[in-house]
């Protein structure tokens, strides 16, 4: 019997084979996509009861379990949203097949990247996830989509290559202590022996892993691929790019940090993460002001939020780490909700420019107010998880490094103000005329396919912030302690 984590990885991949092989007739592929994602979510929830510890190349611990569950959930809601917007994307048969198959390949790779214990397997998983994403971003084949995919490909290709070099160096550091073979790349084994490894090689490995996976996580100054990739791909892809891929990459950086941090004389990883995080927050906060394209705006907001999380993890300690984990999870839920709402609005209004989407709350109340709440959540308003995590982070910074409050507070405020302006432009005021893209939301149920996921995510983000079940909260706290 295959271990549960591997079933979670291989089920989407089997689904991908089926989606690539079956004739794309009617709504069959979209429904199969939803079914596979739903079973994946069931498996990910079942994993919550799985005993912790490593098992061959995978490990299940308090750090990756919440991310697996949230990834599977976002995967399912994205599949649902995708079913409703598919017709308006106007893919031909080949592209529709490639799109659905790439989506499930990506989901399997995402689960593997999160659950991997072996750093080599993690690298392969993130590489597969990248290739699948490139394929999805390029799916439209327009010059703008091709350019976005090409830039994504080249930058992340180099990033991934550097991460592999870092992985090799990690093994080179551990090899004299651990000896040859699989344990030399196992996260648990590496962490246990890190103290006795060569500190210099570990530091060098961390630099490569940080730059390599940091590119994938969209940290400034390695972020250039992200806004274009999220704005030019098919609508549902923005949700998984922002909500899932960035998390997996940042978690890979954190795994590397945990290994290197166990060595007393190695490079202190915290200041690097804090520096990149703060830079991301500041650059993104000011970039948010100049956006005319709604999806680029929220892509920049993802850079800001990944920066906040990286800053929290760089600060370290159980409280800041917990804030970082809650922030990443909350961001996944809220940002994918916002991308669903913006995507739906773009198909209804026939444009994704902010100027063309106005007064959504008046013309489509359920969607408009969902989007408004989502944007408010991104700006750090209660009652959502991002408010809780930002509040805890700010409290922690004020207590430990008060002088860092100034740049961090500035970034948070400028970003929040920019998002409030976007909220006013997109949701309030007189509505702009509807020019629906042909085929948009023609499934029975219409807009409910987008509105349902949006409100579900918002509700869960609020629960995560203020009413998390005791067991889940304990899991998050334990995950924060793993990072040390």
């Amino acid at each position: 019997m295959m271990p549960l984590p591997w079933i979670l990885v291989f089920l989407p991949w089997l689904g991908a084979v089926a989606l690539a092989a079956l004739p794309p007739r009617g709504r069959g592929p979209a429904m199969l996509n939803i079914a596979v994602s739903a079973v994946s979510l069931g498996l990910a929830l079942a994993l919550l009861g799985h005993p912790h510890g490593e098992q061959g190349w995978t490990r299940i611990d308090a750090l990756n379990l919440p991310f697996l569950a949230v990834s599977a959930l976002v995967g399912l809601t994205t599949a649902v949203f995708s079913a409703a917007t598919m017709a308006a994307e106007r893919f031909d048969a080949l592209r529709a097949r490639a799109y659905h198959a790439a989506f499930q390949v990506f989901m399997g790779a995402q689960f593997l990247a999160l659950a991997a214990d072996n750093m080599g397997v993690m690298w392969v998983a993130i590489e597969i996830a990248t290739l699948a994403c490139v394929l999805m971003v390029a799916a439209h084949g327009t010059p703008a989509a091709v350019q976005a995919a090409w830039r994504f490909f080249i930058l992340c290709g180099v990033g991934i290559a550097l991460a592999l070099f870092g992985t090799i160096l990690l093994y080179l550091a551990a090899q004299p202590v651990i000896g040859s073979g699989d344990p030399g790349l196992s996260w648990a084994a590496l962490r246990a022996v890190a103290q006795r490894c060569d500190g210099g090689v570990l530091s060098l490995a961390f630099v490569f892993l940080l730059v390599g996976y940091g590119t994938k996580a969209g940290l400034v100054p390695l972020h250039a691929w992200l806004p274009d990739a999220e704005a030019e791909g098919p609508l549902p892809i923005s949700a998984v790019l922002s909500g899932l891929l960035l998390n997996a990459a940042l978690l890979a950086v954190l795994r590397a940090e945990a290994i290197v941090g166990a060595h007393p004389a190695a490079l202190p990883a915290g200041p690097f993460l804090m520096g990149l995080g703060l830079l991301s927050v500041l650059v993104a906060a000011f970039s948010l002001w100049r956006r005319g394209d709604a999806r680029r705006l929220f892509a920049w907001s993802s850079i800001e939020h990944v920066g906040i999380a990286a800053f929290a993890f760089g600060l370290g300690g159980a409280a800041a780490n917990l804030a970082g984990i809650v922030h990443l999870l909350g961001h996944s839920l809220v940002k994918s909700a916002v991308f669903f709402a913006v995507g739906a609005a773009a198909q209804l209004k026939g444009s994704q420019r902010i100027a063309d989407i106005g007064g959504l709350a008046a013309s489509h109340p359920a969607l408009g107010w969902g989007l408004a709440l989502g944007i408010a959540a991104l700006a750090g308003m209660p009652p959502f998880a991002l408010f809780v995590s930002e509040f805890r982070l700010v409290a922690e910074v004020a207590a430990r490094q008060p002088w860092l409050m100034l740049p961090l507070g500035l970034g948070l405020l400028v970003a929040a103000a920019a998002l409030v302006r976007a909220l006013q432009l997109l949701c309030l005021g007189p509505p702009t005329p509807d020019r629906p893209v042909p085929g948009a939301f023609e499934l029975p149920g219409g807009l409910a396919w987008a509105v349902g996921p949006v409100w579900l995510h918002l509700a869960l983000a609020a629960v995560l912030g203020f009413a998390a079940p005791a067991g889940f909260a304990a899991l998050l706290a334990e995950g924060a302690r793993i990072l040390g």
Binding site: N118, G120, V121, W123, V124, E127, I128, T130, L131, V134, A138, G141, T142, P143, A144, V146, Q147, A148, A149, W150, F153, I154, G157, V158, I160, A161, L162, L164, F165, T167, I168, L169, Y171, L172, A173, Q175, P176, G179, S180, G181, D182, G184, L185, C197, D198, G200, V201, S203, L204, P227, D228, A231, E232, R290, R291, G292, D293, R296, R353
Partner: protein
Amino acid sequence: MRVNSFGTPAYDVAHLLGGGVLLMSFLLLYQRRIGGVINAFAVQGALLAAAAAWQGWVQGAPGLYVTAAIAFAAKAVLIPIALRVLVGRLGQHRAVETALGVGASLLAAILLVGLSVMVVLPVTAGSATPLARVDMTIALSVVLLGMLAMITRRNAISQVVGLLSLENGLILGAVGVVGMPLVVELSTAALVLVLAVVAGVVVFQIRERLDTLDTSILDRHGGEA
């Protein structure tokens, strides 16, 4: 075990092959014609395959022969042929446009090799074997030179060749570390990545969305609106 120190065949041959791979990275930088770039890349692939096979023999690791065979088939034969066919079909644009002069590129390359020597050798002085140290130095140099080639070239095919050569450096590093687990899997996965890049370029060309593969043309589309 004194197999892996200076003056033994194991060390010297590995050093020679690694040096050859690095030399090809320099050749990539100063070729002015796209055909020359592809040739230099093909030779680099063959040298990499030889280096992997040699490491397989020295370390007694049969898996590395697989890596060597895959590297030879893909990088010395198939990818160069595919790129040549592609260039032939494109017809024009055979000369490589550079964003940085050849002299400046070579100077930067020498500085990068110096940088990797200064980074890797002191850091690995404590633990690693001499063979692994030299190997990692050369590997990092090849990686950095690959990045340099990607930065200084504006033509998509030369950029792809830069990425391919960067990936050669990674494989060189991976095969040089004794007992590296999953080396065959990792090198194959890395190869899949670059094959996908090549396939991407081929698809772009066939779809004729782009008149030329000069990537500066691409910058007219998209971007911030």
